[in-house]
């Protein structure tokens, strides 16, 4: 098909595909779907953390949290902009989110029950996200790769902040330590599930790898995350809720229990604890803002043409 050979040539030369380059339809569609889902995840992912902005327990932590959620909105903006270079527009992508035709990361369908959850999201969820995303900084599509460079830098900052939040708890009172452990207990397996189904059951992998969109398999990335996280848990002084987690000297990796992929599938398909809430919140915010966006458009149109309304 058209663009396929041009793409192959670029990939062979390890160069980036840019918006003006020819590309195969499948490549474009896959990128749009992936970038949109990533953008949607950033904006839906604001909700569980924004849930604690009004209740953050120090002004410093409140400022860090507001800045973090703001960064996520910013990531959403970069990513929608990257998607737009592929010939779609943000309003359409949002519409596909709001009508359930495009997905966002399942992880955000779990509730943030305590302040420690904010830390666990930073440490584990952002940690998993970075593990997923670092390879994307070298992905074949230029605008996406460049957005990921910027995003990964900020995410890694967020991950350290989450770790630091939890550290304050594990070095705090008995109740604070329990709060931290409880959060880790609840977020560990959903974080592992963020890497998707095991390779044996994964469908999109091969073509994406060939296109230079995906450079490592789900299981490779999951293993990398576990290996990175275990020593951090020791520093924190929290227990990872997996009795079978242990170092395997032969493999040079940790053995660990796989997450419940049946649960992952249920949550992806809408049956997570917060799917309905997250979507309802997002749709309501969008609908509540319709009159504002309409006014802005009307005002801009009138003033662009010099008309007086």
């Amino acid at each position: 098909p058209d663009g396929a050979s041009a793409l192959e040539a670029l990939l062979a030369a390890d160069e980036r595909v840019e918006p003006r380059d020819e590309m195969p339809d499948g490549y474009r569609r896959t990128l749009v779907r992936q970038i949109a889902q990533h953008a949607h995840s950033e904006i839906i992912g604001m909700q569980p953390e924004a849930n604690w902005i009004s209740r953050a327990p120090s002004l410093r932590r409140k400022a860090i949290l507001m800045a973090k959620v703001q960064d996520e909105a910013g990531h959403g903006l970069y990513l929608y902009a990257a998607a737009e270079t592929l010939g779609v527009d943000r309003a359409d992508l949002l519409d596909q989110l709001h009508t359930g035709r495009q997905k966002y990361s399942s992880i955000f369908n779990y509730p943030t029950l305590t302040w420690a959850d904010v830390g666990a999201i930073g440490w584990l969820v952002d940690g998993a996200a970075i593990t997923n995303q670092v390879p994307l900084c070298r992905c074949s599509y230029g605008p996406y790769a460049r957005a990921m460079v910027r995003i990964c830098k900020e995410e890694s900052f967020h991950q350290r902040q989450g770790f630091d939040l939890l550290l304050a708890l594990t070095r705090g009172t008995e109740r604070q330590r329990a709060m931290a452990q409880d959060a880790v207990d609840r977020w560990w397996y959903p974080s592992l599930a963020m890497f998707g189904p095991p390779d044996a059951e994964s469908t999109h992998g091969t073509q994406s790898a060939a296109w230079g969109i995906k450079r490592f398999s789900n299981d490779e990335l999951r293993q990398r995350f576990v290996d990175m996280t275990v020593p951090q848990a020791e520093v924190l002084g929290v227990r990872i809720p997996d009795p079978d987690l242990r170092w395997n000297a032969e493999r040079g990796h940790h053995d660990f229990t796989q997450p419940d992929y049946a649960e992952l599938l249920r949550v992806i398909n809408g049956a997570g604890p917060c799917n309905a809430q997250r979507m309802a919140h997002r749709r309501r915010a969008h609908e509540d803002g319709a009159w504002v966006r309409e006014a802005a458009t009307a005002y801009a149109a009138r003033h662009a043409t010099g008309g007086s309304g």
């Binding site: 604001m46 909105a73 959403g76 929608y80």
Partner: protein, 250 residues
């Protein structure tokens, strides 16, 4: 506490409570750019609040830091104006409040940046740039919404009307502040009103909005801790976690 501590607390509480309300807009804004912008404004105000309350605690001399002041005072001890504690009915009202508030904060901080108190002067000098942006942001929205669609005009006017009874309180002063003005430490609030009116009335006019009549029932009392009934709920959210863990550090 010493007058300068009281004065810094008043300014700090204004910024803190306004930041808390702006924070509530994040994930609820009409578009993603506005989530970013409102978070940014909230962060600016939160930063101002932290510096002002830290300084208030230092001058008070009782060993209280910014968090002690934010999390461990009761409602009657907060001395912010009532404007900032209101629950926004919609985005139009939020922008009306932001316009009214930032157009007051800008000349206040500009004046304060020449304060005889070097800490207040430094805090204010930094804040002037932030608040100039806030005022501009609010202005752009009031223009767009006032002069946008019939629906947005109606809502924007309703927002302006709703916050208007809280205007007078911004320019109230008392013996404590008058003494600080004489010492060159504080800014004369009543003296800020002319600039505020010129600016805000002009924006409303350009936005095709009507400047409301002076309020029949002007709000007052915030400076002495007599708040609206919205304040208690705001503080319950703000403080619940810290109050639930006495002595813990976060």
């Amino acid at each position: 506490g010493p007058p300068v501590a009281v004065y810094a607390t008043r300014l700090g509480d204004d910024a803190l409570i306004m930041a808390q309300r702006l924070g509530g807009w994040i994930t609820n804004a009409p578009q993603l750019e506005e989530d970013v912008a409102l978070a940014n404004l909230g962060l600016d105000l939160l930063g101002q609040a932290r510096m002002l309350l830290t300084y208030a605690g230092e001058r008070e001399g009782l060993g209280r830091d910014e968090d002690d002041l934010a999390y461990c005072r009761d409602e009657r001890g907060f001395c912010n104006v009532t404007l900032v504690e209101r629950v926004d009915a919609d985005f139009g009202e939020a922008m009306a409040r932001l316009l009214v508030f930032s157009a007051y904060q800008l000349p206040l901080y500009r004046g304060l940046s020449a304060s005889a108190d070097p800490t207040l002067a430094a805090i204010a000098a930094k804040a002037v740039k932030e608040v100039a942006y806030h005022r501009d942001h609010a202005t752009q929205w009031v223009l767009r919404l006032g002069d946008g669609t019939p629906e947005s005009h109606r809502r924007m006017q309703a927002g302006v009307d709703s916050v208007w009874p809280h205007v007078d309180e911004l320019f109230e002063t008392d013996a404590l502040e008058r003494a600080l003005v004489t010492e060159g430490v504080a800014v004369d609030r009543p003296g800020l009103r002319a600039e505020w009116e010129t600016y805000v009335h002009d924006v409303l006019r350009r936005a095709t909005l009507t400047v409301p009549e002076p309020a029949a029932a002007p709000a007052t009392g915030g400076r002495s801790g007599v708040h609206t009934e919205a304040m208690g709920y705001l503080l319950a959210e703000l403080q619940h976690l810290v109050r639930s863990h006495p002595g813990a550090r976060w």
